[in-house]
Amino acid sequence: MLKKLFATFAVTAAMFTAQPSWAASPPNMLVIGTNLTGIRTLDPAQNNARTVSELISNLYDNLVQLSPDDLQTLKPMLATEWKVSEDGKLITLTLRDDAVFQSGNKVTAEDAAWSIQRVIKMGQVGSTDIALWGFTPENVEQLVRAKDEHTLEIELPQPVSTDLVLYSLAGSSIGIVDKKTVLSHEANGDFGGAWLSANSAGSGPFTLAQWRPNDVAIFNAQPDYWGGKPAMARVVARHIPESGNLRLQLEAGDVDVGHYLASGDLDALSKSEDIIIDSVPGLGFYYVALNQKDPDLQKPKVREAFQHAFDWKAIADNIMRYTGFPWQSMIPRGMIGAPSEVTDRYNYDPAKAKQLLAEAGYPNGLKKVLNPSGAPTLPFAEALQASARAAGIELDLVPGEFTPAFRERKYEVLLGNSGARLPDPFAVATQYAYNPDNSDEARLGSYYLWRTAMKVDELNGLVDQSMKERDTAKRTEIFKKIDAIYGGMNSPLMIFFQRTDPYVMRANVKGYQGHTTWSTRWHDVTKE
């Protein structure tokens, strides 16, 4: 009996050993291991998150683009040149005439105008940035129009820095779609949204070959792309949610690029010579938020005490090694108005924190509930809890998914991280320093300052100004001023780290550069 059993095993085992399934990713194919959770559609107008922005940016071309190493200089893409009128109210873009959609239709100014109109009229998350400039479903058709086959005019409904407008055109949501093809698949007035969720109709260097949500997305190269045939004949984005598994596949060479690896796996991979880790700065921060509806946290001295209750240096080299760097200004590093170095605003000083609490009327310390915004910020929250205890603040850590509670101002102390796509301090300033209406009914959940229930009229005015001002030197001054006020007001939103997104790749992969605004493009990727 046993002998037979073993014989069966031996035969089965031999069957497998004889057929090794060893297959490294071939030289003309890029395999990206990522997390595809939550991507419900590949329609540019309905997206603004990180992973999906990368996928979309390779199916659709934008009018203009920003290269990953220079976020301040706009570069041509479908538009070869652009002019701004004297009064700053009209942007005229000239489109190239050799760009073709995957259907074979030529890319015209009409397609470009309709793509922008579509984003505004659909009013989905893709419109978040461009709707800031005052476009509405009612006015967009008159304001964004094709003058002729190759000329697109964008008239601004209100005075806005045209730099901002052009930056927003480079975002993945404003990918230009093939009007004729998309309209032929329209159903129930959805602007072709249902069809575009699983199909592509762009002029980009790749076309969508296969899409299975939460499993795999396969992209084929467009051989006659106007920018030249991509070196990769195929790009595969595969859902590999388990970080340990992804690490093994990166080491084995079955996966070329990895996203969202856990810090333990990043540590291990950093020791390998075959692997490069690129920590790309993001336009967002790791912050601690204090709800100003709480009578204790309202007191400025209590807020000041919190500034000295967190030993952030202790986690800078381990937990945050790949996901952020110490930064305490509201203006992201390298942007106009940003200081060259800010790590001295909030120093860990438990004695001082205790004294401040005593002055505020809490000689025996303070007890509050601390929520992380979600699972990824939990280790950070644990570190905060530990160091705050020494400073006389007892934080009761309740883990879970608390972003919804944060948006409804139902929390005491929250630790979270933010992100933005628009490469201008204005994008961050609206999140961190803007709150035009502090009432509960206003429900301005997209403004973090509203979420902390604080309103500062001076900041509101400055943020408005920074949007309207066209002169870069003046805008720089405005942002400096915003940051100075913010740093001096014992802000209920304390910034400790600027976010970075670690991209892991095999050393033989060249030209894959993670983009701060998430529009990572694969056109120039090669493998040695």
Binding site: G123, T128, R212, P213, S373, T403, P404, S446
Partner: protein, 363 residues
């Protein structure tokens, strides 16, 4: 019925319903039984849906934010909120859902945008395929091991089986999974790492049954078949190992119980060989019990495979359900729960039928 007859004899004056007194037609009995069963199934499924739905309402996750991301303006938030029907009263949402399910419409996933039914059509075969491989491993290895352990009680084999079973119960499955990947994928390069198939083979086989192994074999695409096999064998075996642990322990104790019975002694006294005593006499009597265990194990493999599915990036039902829960995608959760419920009911029915075949007393 028989008691009704007795009663009517005993008390002829009592006004008994003529219908009950008369012996009903056998077809009618069968129909009544069938109707009873259908009612039971529908009630079970409805109860299941109601429970799932209520629990989903208690979760703190926000289905709108799961779609839009946290940085969303009030206008867009409200629009998506309405599109999802969340502005309706909760009971209304539930009724609408039940009505749609009754017409075969499971709704759309709010996080993948796909109809649940089409999601399930690709996901379900992946899970069943994995569960079947695990089941085969569990039965082929588990039952003989358990029986050998029982027959040679106290021997080395018995101890080895016990240790194996104990390890299967106590070692976390994701750890086993990662270790196995490290050895068989990263070091030995014998198996595939993630998903049902290597990306190079994607789209080569047209799905007919949805089972990759069967579909590729049908088309004679042996390359694809081998690749799919190399992907399923590791998660399948690990899952199988965990069911081996359970099945072998149970077979051992069932077998021990039988071996202590008098009829075994009789059989031995008659001079029958050990093999005959064990397989022809004792084993026959534990088949029904084993069937129950196997049915339970198979059901458990469906939704219990979450961790192994995550470790191996297997696009199956467990992962689908967990993700739905995390993102508060209630259509996904209810669709998956409904499927699992339906499978459990089907397994129950199949084992009922098998009981009748295997156990003459139930006929």
């Amino acid at each position: 019925m028989a008691s009704a007859d007795l009663q009517s004899e005993r008390d002829p004056n009592r006004n008994i319903d003529a219908f009950a007194a008369a012996s009903p037609h056998p077809v009618l009995i069968m129909l009544l039984r069938l109707a009873g069963r259908v009612v039971a199934i529908v009630t079970t499924l409805l109860g299941l849906l109601f429970l799932t739905f209520s629990m989903g309402r208690l979760l703190p996750a926000d289905p709108v934010l799961a779609i839009t991301g946290a940085e969303v303006s009030k206008e867009v938030y409200d629009r998506v909120y309405r599109e999802l029907g969340l502005d309706q009263p909760i009971w209304m949402q539930f009724l609408t859902y039940v009505r749609n399910v009754a017409t075969g419409d499971l709704g759309r996933s709010t996080t993948t945008g796909q109809p649940i039914l089409s999601d399930l059509l690709t996901i379900f075969p992946a899970t069943i395929e994995l569960a079947l491989v695990a089941m085969v491993v569990g039965i082929v290895v588990g039952i003989p091991l358990g029986i050998i352990a029982a027959v040679r009680r106290g021997s080395i084999i018995d101890h080895v089986v016990r240790i194996l079973a104990l390890a299967g119960h106590s070692v976390p499955i994701f750890w086993t999974g990662l270790m196995a990947l490290f050895i068989f994928y990263a070091k030995l390069r014998l198996v595939g790492a993630s998903g049902r198939i290597d990306v190079f083979y994607e789209g080569l086989v047209t799905p007919v049954t949805g089972f990759l192994l069967i579909d590729s074999a049908l088309e004679g695409q042996w390359e694809v078949f081998r690749n799919a096999l190399s992907h399923i064998i590791l998660p399948g075996s690990i899952l199988g190992y965990y069911s081996v642990a359970y099945i072998s322990r149970m077979s051992r104790s069932f077998m021990l119980e039988q071996l202590g019975q008098e009829y075994i002694l009789t059989a031995k006294a008659k001079g029958l060989g050990r093999r005959q005593v064990v397989w022809r006499h004792a084993f026959r009597n534990i088949r029904v019990q084993l069937l129950t265990i196997m049915a339970l194990t198979f059901g458990g493999l469906l939704e219990g495979a979450v961790l192994i599915e995550t470790v191996f990036g297997w696009p199956g039902l467990g992962q689908y359900l967990t993700r739905g829960l995390q993102m508060n995608d209630m259509n996904v959760v209810m669709g998956a729960v409904l499927t699992i419920g339906a499978v459990f009911l089907t397994i129950n029915m199949i084992s009922d039928v098998l009981y009748r075949i295997l156990d003459p007393r139930t006929r």
